[in-house]
Symmetry: C2
Subunit: 310 residues, 2 copies
Amino acid sequence: MRILDKNDIQNNFDFDKAVEAIRMAYISASTDNASIAPVGHLSFPDNNGDCHIKSGHIKGDDFFVIKIATGFYDNPSLGRPSSNGVMVVFSATSGEPVALLKDEGWLTDMRTGIGGAITTIELAPNNAKNVLLIGTGLQCRFQADCLSRLSPDIYQYSVWGRSLRNAKKACEDLSSKGLDIKPATDLEEGVKKADIIITTTPSTEHIVRNSWVSASTHITAIGADSLGKQELDTDLLHRADLLVSDLNSQSLDHGEFQSIKETRSALSPIEIGNIFNKTEGGRLSEESVTIADLTGIAPQDIAISGTVLL
Amino acid sequence: MRILDKNDIQNNFDFDKAVEAIRMAYISASTDNASIAPVGHLSFPDNNGDCHIKSGHIKGDDFFVIKIATGFYDNPSLGRPSSNGVMVVFSATSGEPVALLKDEGWLTDMRTGIGGAITTIELAPNNAKNVLLIGTGLQCRFQADCLSRLSPDIYQYSVWGRSLRNAKKACEDLSSKGLDIKPATDLEEGVKKADIIITTTPSTEHIVRNSWVSASTHITAIGADSLGKQELDTDLLHRADLLVSDLNSQSLDHGEFQSIKETRSALSPIEIGNIFNKTEGGRLSEESVTIADLTGIAPQDIAISGTVLL
């Protein structure tokens, strides 16, 4: 059984291979080619913590993966990161444990970054130029970095956050990777100018207002991943010409679209796997407003683990 | 993060500490002191395999445990064991991974042996002398060895199996540990003489008939752990003066008592944790027939992992 720590994992990592694997993971999830166990959950109320267990297998893959992710939200006050976890990889032909990936959450961050970037590229208007990142944390960096690696020298980036200082810090980090990027001081103005908006906040109230969003815009919403989280105005969700999810069951249950499932009957977003697979269409016209909500799915974890092991 | 292999685990293992921990685990499970996630399940029909994920936390414990157990039933024909798996131990205060226990299933075998032995001792008639083991596999050995360590020099053991050769082999292995043990050639005669019967087979049809079982007998049934498995005659289950389980939800769903839940309305066995805790009584009289069905529960896994780490 191989034991890989974060450093080993980063050294073994092949970005292009991971991009292709994650595109296939979305297709598998939307075409019944993945078997996914329900998410297991344990809570630790005395220590403000929780644990999620995601597991699944993509048909035909040599491996299956159990991902155990913890969040203990008082850790930062003690100088420790709040997120942690491991992935355990098993042979799908013999049941033997093959590898322990002590990624400390890095593979999850990377698969989220890649999933966002390929979805954004798939759905963005052809003439898109201005990308606005809302939120200044780790996912702001992963989303922008992955998008820029896949579409180099095409976009101009700006970053808005509640703290201008944090937005400036994110710009410094991303410019050092070669991005054309600057902080946005006014959110409304930033949204009005943007052709692509990527939201990565843990907000529980909408940040992006419908009236600010121009025609010919694509939004990738990453932040909402549990009950009560919301980044986009419900009017904006109702107005969108196209709603896309990674997995409808998750998006409607605990993703961005939970906020409109009561008011929009028979809501059935198109799953991105079906767009990648060309069984569903994507953007309808250059003028459309498109919104993709990504909650993160087990097949992404399986796919990215596989690329580190091969 | 500590990585312990089977050898390390066996070297660190303290039997007496594990016995006490497992007794407390049963009590925790029956008194709402354990939080247990539903069992996760993945199947691999192309390779005749499955994977079960059990996880839970006993309130107040420093650790929580995720046990990943695989069974790939074509492995033996390729010279590999069918069972495998690991336990992953996390801190319940910080969410950090603490240890990987590569026990290859040994801790599960041992916690099952100890759970059976303490249940058998709790429910056996006072004057019990003859113990009949039905089944000749690993659990025959673990049940007899654990019982003998906890009640040395009290019982005379016999072993019955479909293969007399396998029964003889089990007797050789167990006599080398000091047990007074011999193979049983006739099942009916063996059951009639037995004061304690321990069944450890994967049978899907009853092996023990009601008419063979004398008054003043205790039966511990270990084998039935999934849909369709059954070791005891349903008439015998109906006749028993006391039915005991490790966890009623599991026993009625996929344990020995699944066979009578349709015919015995409002069936509610007594959980062994409540007997250990003295909130429920155990054996009613020396003449009673008592039956305990043990399906194996996550708190046993947590408890035994904890004793290896401390």
